[in-house]
Amino acid sequence: MPLVTVPLFTVTFLAVVRHAGRDDLTAYAVMAPVLIALWQLSLLDSGEIIEADRWQGVLEVVIAAPANVSTVVLGRVFAVTAVAFLAFIEVWFVARALFGVTIEFHHPGLFLLTLAASGLAMSGTAVIMAALFVLARSARTFQNSLSYPFYVLGGVLVPVSFLPDWLEPLSSVVFLSWSADLLRDSLDPAPVSGAAVRLGMVLALGTGGFVIGRLLLRRILNRVRADGTVGYA
């Protein structure tokens, strides 16, 4: 579903910057829908992995299998995350067909590396969500709550420098804030400073997310096993 709404987000964001005569913000408007699709698709899938397994009565089998559950979840989320990159093709098409905008890649290597790192980081982070969704009363409600707060903290459209100073420590641990800045910079003709460190931060935060998610998942699955609620749908 996130791929269905990508064109509408693209129209909305491009319309607002071009109506204001700020063509210099086109990179902001075209990268935001891609990051939103990446976040939504991974979140939606990670939420529904556990829910769907519970509905289908296979969660017990998944837990009983010798493979590590969090690794299985990571692999399943990553497959869906890869699909999210189709969003960029949609954005490219809508920008060109409806607004006559051609997206120029001034740092194509960095752009591709950032997309790949963001996909990995998203998948790692999604494992935390998958763990928490096991305890949530309604995964869908939880999913709904995790969208816009992270779009703001992650500077998906508006850079985090526009947020109050006291929010900056919080936004700096959201990998999206590093991804969004790097993706915008990769479309800008100016040289990109500290690209390796910033890419490293995206990967480090994604790895951190996966480690936390793995610990949480182990703990939460132990808990639902102990109280006999693994199969509750």
Binding site: M1, T5, A15, T141, N144, S147, P149, F162
Partner: protein, 264 residues
């Protein structure tokens, strides 16, 4: 008429019980309310990015009123839940009109939409120093209610359509609200788009109601505001009429091909 009102009341009570399984006060405040305030802040920040406080305020109002529509549109999905629950055949077989039942069933989302919209509007107004002219500000509530109700009418019409294709319920709902967000005057004036897009925007809920709310906050005279109020009401009634004409046919169509109990 008394019979219709009784059915509406019972349907609304059922819907409210459903709603209580989605949210508690705590999850509404910490989960939903935090999210919707962040949504309005997200759009208002675009104005800051553009370097215009006036645009910040326009986007803030647009995003807050949009929430009345978005929340009312949960009715598209909640209409389909009835088929999922396996109770649609019973409703269709009952002597009541299905459209009356379904119109009452999701009415909780109108109230939720108004509270969501006004709550996020006031929070974001405080964050971005939006002037709230007294006592005009009080009229924002009924106008938001009007937007929520007209949006609900379109949602009920779409709910009838998705009863035939349940798996599309969230796609239809998101496409409709996404379209309203893009072309309904939320982020840029409707006049920015080509004429055919403007025609579409003018028959969608929110477009005229939002303009009325912006005019109200800008201190315009009643003569400027009331035509848009009338147009918003007319749009809502138009979608209600369409829902009345089509809903029962769509709800009952599963009887002909034996698919009424299928949940997909």
């Amino acid at each position: 008429m008394r019979h219709v009102l009784r059915v509406l009341r019972h349907a609304a009570a059922t819907g409210y019980q459903d709603y209580k399984t989605i949210y508690t006060w705590r999850t509404w405040l910490i989960g939903w309310y935090l999210r919707v305030v962040a949504q309005v802040v997200f759009f208002a920040l675009i104005g800051e990015l553009l370097g215009s406080r006036a645009r910040t305020h326009e986007l803030l109002v647009g995003a807050a009123v949009l929430l009345a529509t978005v929340t009312s549109f949960i009715a598209v999905a909640s209409t389909a839940w009835e088929r999922w629950a396996g109770t649609l055949p019973l409703l269709v077989a009952s002597p009541s009109s299905a459209v009356v039942v379904f119109a009452g069933r999701s009415v909780t989302f109108i109230g939720d939409g108004v509270v969501t919209s006004l709550g996020s509007f006031l929070a974001a107004a405080a964050i971005f120093d939006l002037p709230l002219p007294w006592p005009r500000i009080l009229l924002v509530a009924p106008l938001t209610l009007l937007v929520a109700v007209s949006s609900y009418m379109l949602a009920i019409f779409l709910g009838g359509l998705v009863l035939r294709a349940m798996s599309t319920r969230n796609v239809v709902s998101n496409l409709a609200t996404g379209t309203i967000m893009a072309i309904g005057g939320v982020v840029v004036p409707v006049g920015y788009y080509p004429q055919p897009v403007q025609w579409l925007a003018n028959i969608l809920p929110l477009t005229h109601g939002l303009e009325a709310i912006r005019d109200l906050l800008a201190g315009e005279a009643a003569a400027e505001i009331l035509p848009n109020v009338g147009l918003e009401a007319a749009v809502g009634l138009g979608w209600l009429g369409l829902a009345l004409l089509t809903f029962n046919h769509l709800a009952e169509s599963g009887r002909r091909d034996g698919s009424i109990e299928f949940a997909s």
